[in-house]
């Protein structure tokens, strides 16, 4: 193109045009909040909002990890099953330690470390199969999804693994406790999202994640160790799952074959609603946060109004996902 500015040097971008693609998730979230307030005044009470956000934290944290994996051009379907598996193993570890007369703090701490190690380990296995094994991420994680789900069913012998009472009482505040009215899960979620945003937007690793998903060959030719970048993304996803489980276990104190069911779809939905591109190369952490909260709010609003059946929740969520993608495609420019 001829230089439109004539002999002048190029200018830094003029006033940025308003982009629906960037702001869409946040506008939609705002509309949802207004809608909720109109439907039922209870919606906007701190109590209700804290409750909703606390429950969002599990899939919300997992979705932060999913944003990284999807931005590299991959996908991880195994997160829901992995959550159940980690929860089962964590409960068994803690139950085994408690009769040994160990202090509850140590029991829980060791359980948490075990959970994190298992999460990162499982992520590394997914990542290695994708990178060294050269298998499509969809296939790899479809496989491990089945494996983890089956393992937790086996460990629970088809039933439920329950945390011993002593440990449960000690561990309970991690989910139910709060700081100035904000529960720990919300605080951890906010922290994970902030760290995720800083890593994706400000660090070298984040730049490499985006470059890998944008065009893997260009990344490789730019001396980027593409395999390591991807491997780290899957490990990060595993760590996020483990963190979510650490917050989840004290809530019910049990794990079964149905723990974390469909979490993978909720996480992926949050990522997509948030504006991250499914084929990779463009990730939006805060969009993912908005997406996860939106999904939880829909559920909450339906509960608060009697007008629409709660059973239609999934249908409405489905519509939102499809609309989100349509809006993004339109904003991207018609072809």
């Amino acid at each position: 193109m001829p230089d439109p500015s004539g002999p002048d040097a190029p200018r830094p971008s003029r006033t940025r045009r308003f982009e629906l693609k960037t702001w869409g998730p946040f506008i939609a979230l705002g509309i949802l909040v207004i809608l909720g307030t109109l439907v039922n005044p209870v919606f906007l009470t701190p109590n209700n909002l804290v409750n909703v956000l606390t429950r969002t934290a599990f899939t919300g944290i997992i979705a932060i990890g999913a944003t990284f994996v999807i931005t590299t051009g991959g996908i991880d379907l195994s997160v829901g099953s992995l959550a159940a598996f980690i929860a089962g193993v964590m409960i068994m570890v803690m139950n085994a330690l408690q009769p040994a007369g160990m202090a509850p703090l140590s029991v829980v701490a060791i359980g948490m470390v075990a959970a994190l190690a298992l999460g990162v380990g499982a992520g590394l296995i997914n990542g290695l199969l994708v990178t060294k094994g050269r298998i499509e991420p969809f296939i790899v994680t479809l496989g491990t999804m089945g494996i983890f789900r089956s393992l937790v069913t086996y460990l629970a012998n088809g039933g439920t693994l329950s945390l011993n009472m002593g440990t449960r009482g000690f561990y309970r505040p991690v989910y139910y406790g709060d700081l100035f009215g904000v529960t720990y899960p919300i605080l951890v979620y906010a922290l994970v999202a902030t760290v995720g945003a800083v890593v994706l937007y400000r660090t070298r690793y984040g730049r490499y994640v985006t470059a890998t998903g944008s065009n893997e060959e260009v990344a490789r030719y730019s001396a980027i160790k593409v395999d390591r970048i991807k491997l780290a993304a899957y490990a990060l996803q595993g760590a996020c799952v483990a963190l979510a489980v650490v917050l989840y276990v004290p809530r019910l104190g049990s794990a079964s074959a149905t723990t974390g069911l469909l979490w993978e779809l909720e996480a992926i939905a949050a990522v997509i609603i948030g504006g991250t591109i499914l084929k990779g190369g463009a990730g939006r952490i805060w969009g993912t946060v908005a997406g996860a909260i939106m999904l939880a709010l829909i559920d909450n609003i339906l509960n608060l109004t009697g007008a629409i059946s709660v059973y239609l929740n999934a249908a409405i969520q489905g519509c939102i996902i499809i609309i989100a993608v349509l809006v993004q495609r339109d904003a991207k420019g018609r072809r």
Binding site: P2, D3, R207, N215, E217, V218, A219, R220, Y221
Partner: protein, 502 residues
């Protein structure tokens, strides 16, 4: 004017606030080959896309057979017999050659695909192009030049009255170009009008009847080709004299040390037993036919491709080079021939592209965005990259400016050895000249260059020595007066040199 099949009258085009065409006239007559010339960014491709129905004009009219016509999309144009062959391939990679050629206009009989008829049609058009690809082969597995031939086959297998070709020979070998030219002449003899974009002056001189030159989106000249010399055309395109296309060649001093030694390198499937050395201050050319293994040798050398034997050593570096990081650390940078596929993230802005290779220099963990910004401003000034907006996406730059950005990206690691692969492919004369000056300045400052090029004049004009490859082997190294066209071609085709045909 009689016999004009397709014309643009006073065509203007703006993208947002940027106007790229200013009232341009362009007409294609029956049976003529009308070349459209201009530097990158002159507006050639945009004009052709408007005539091909891919984009609407902002002002002006498109006339088909003398009547003003609105082409709403390329389908409209194709129904009128106007077919465009793009610079970028529009082939479905996972489908077969035959399926691609008939894509969107499959022959159907009784509700089922009539494969026999399509097979016959495919064979016929491929035979016309003397293109020995299997109609059942998947397009993804074809070489770049074969894909180009399939693209052309797809176009000419339609009832075409006007054929618009955007740099069709950029990836073709000399022999394939000849075949294409014969086909084009056959088509024009049947009355087809051809619009032909190319940067190759000699080619335009050889094939076209008329030439239209655009500069900065404006019409400059339309003349019968016979009245213009290649120099005239170049002058019209650039708008000034290009006196010396190639900068003066300063030979490296006799005691210039060897900076790179490649020993018995083998790349499975491509290169056997290649050895050469590079000295400080030297420009070493690599000549050969497409597929001779030059790109693969260089990619193997810098660690981007698996190799089975051999060693690469850079002076002053203890360890032999095996991986791309080691190559970069040793001061060796490779500039790929595949700008859009392997060189640049075209969907991303300029800054992340500029710093991607050298990102470690912008912070170990956190990226210093202010420093990146400064680097971009400096690179734009140094390499004269034309962009409307510092935050523009790479895709919005013209090919020449993308190439300059790719060079700037490569230079970010401050290499001592620069390996450039077809650095001027698909680039206008002015930018070519700028790249030649850049390479000459680079070696004058103590750097060394390996340049792969399929344009012999370029190697003859720039290189101190020329290595010729054929079928994965080095057949000879020419220097001094031996660097001339015949000698290179004899080595490249196996008439002369090591491993020559008996």
């Amino acid at each position: 004017m009689p016999d004009v099949v397709l014309a643009g009258r006073a065509i203007s085009k703006s993208f947002g606030q940027v106007q790229v065409l200013f009232g341009v006239d362009f007409a294609i007559r029956r049976g003529e080959i009308h070349a459209l010339m201009g530097e990158n960014g002159a507006g050639k491709s945009t004009l052709m896309k408007i005539l091909g129905g891919y984009q609407p004009a902002s002002a002006g009219t498109v006339e088909v057979d003398g009547a003003a016509t609105v082409l709403r999309d390329s389908g409209d144009a194709e129904r009128l017999g106007i077919v465009m062959i793009h610079q970028e391939f529009s082939l479905a990679e996972t489908m077969t050659v035959e399926e691609n050629i008939y894509l969107g206009r499959e022959v159907v009989r009784h509700g089922f695909l009539d494969r026999a008829t399509m097979r016959e049609g495919t064979r016929k058009v491929l035979a016309e192009l003397e293109c020995p690809v299997d109609p059942d082969a998947r397009v993804g597995g074809l070489s770049v030049s074969e894909k180009q031939m399939v693209e052309i086959a797809k176009a000419v297998s339609r009832d075409v009255r006007v054929l618009i070709m955007d740099e069709p020979t950029a990836v073709l070998t000399g022999a394939e170009t000849e075949i294409l030219f014969r086909l084009i002449r056959r088509l024009t003899a049947q009355g087809v009008g051809v619009a032909y974009i190319s940067h190759k002056l000699t080619e335009v001189k050889a094939i076209s009847d008329r030439v239209t030159v655009l500069r900065d989106g404006r019409w400059v000249e339309t003349r019968p080709t016979a009245e213009l010399s290649p120099d005239d055309i170049a002058r019209l395109m650039v708008g000034r004299e290009i006196s010396d296309m190639y900068p003066p060649r300063l030979p490296p001093p006799d005691d210039a040390p060897t900076v790179l030694a490649v020993d018995h390198l083998s790349i499975p499937g491509w290169v056997r037993d290649a050895s050469f050395t590079l000295r400080r201050g030297e420009i070493l050319g690599f000549a050969g036919l497409v597929g001779a293994g030059r790109t693969e040798l260089m990619e193997g050398l810098v660690g981007l491709r698996r190799r089975t034997a051999g060693e690469v050593r850079a002076t002053g570096v203890a360890e032999p080079i095996r991986t791309i990081d080691q190559a970069v650390a040793a001061g060796i940078a490779y500039l790929t021939e595949d700008r859009k596929g392997k060189g640049l993230l075209v969907d991303k802005p300029l800054t992340p592209n500029l710093t991607l290779l050298a990102l470690a220099r912008y912070g170990r963990i956190f990226v210093d965005r202010a420093a990146e910004r400064r680097a971009l401003v400096a690179a734009i000034a140094e390499h004269r990259i034309k962009t409307a907006d510092l935050d523009a996406r790479v895709a919005s730059l013209s090919g020449g400016n993308q190439q300059k950005l790719l060079i700037a990206k490569t230079m970010q690691v401050e290499p001592k050895i620069l390996i450039v692969d077809e650095p001027t492919r698909g680039i206008d004369v002015g930018t070519k000249h700028q790249i030649y000056l850049f390479l000459a300045a680079f070696v004058a400052a103590g750097g060394s260059v390996v340049i792969i090029s399929s344009e012999l004049p370029e190697l003859i004009g720039l290189a101190h020595r020329v290595v010729v490859m054929r079928d994965g082997r080095i057949t000879g190294t020419l220097s001094g007066a031996d660097i001339e066209e015949n000698e290179v071609v004899r080595h490249a085709t196996g008439l002369k040199g090591a491993h020559a045909d008996a």
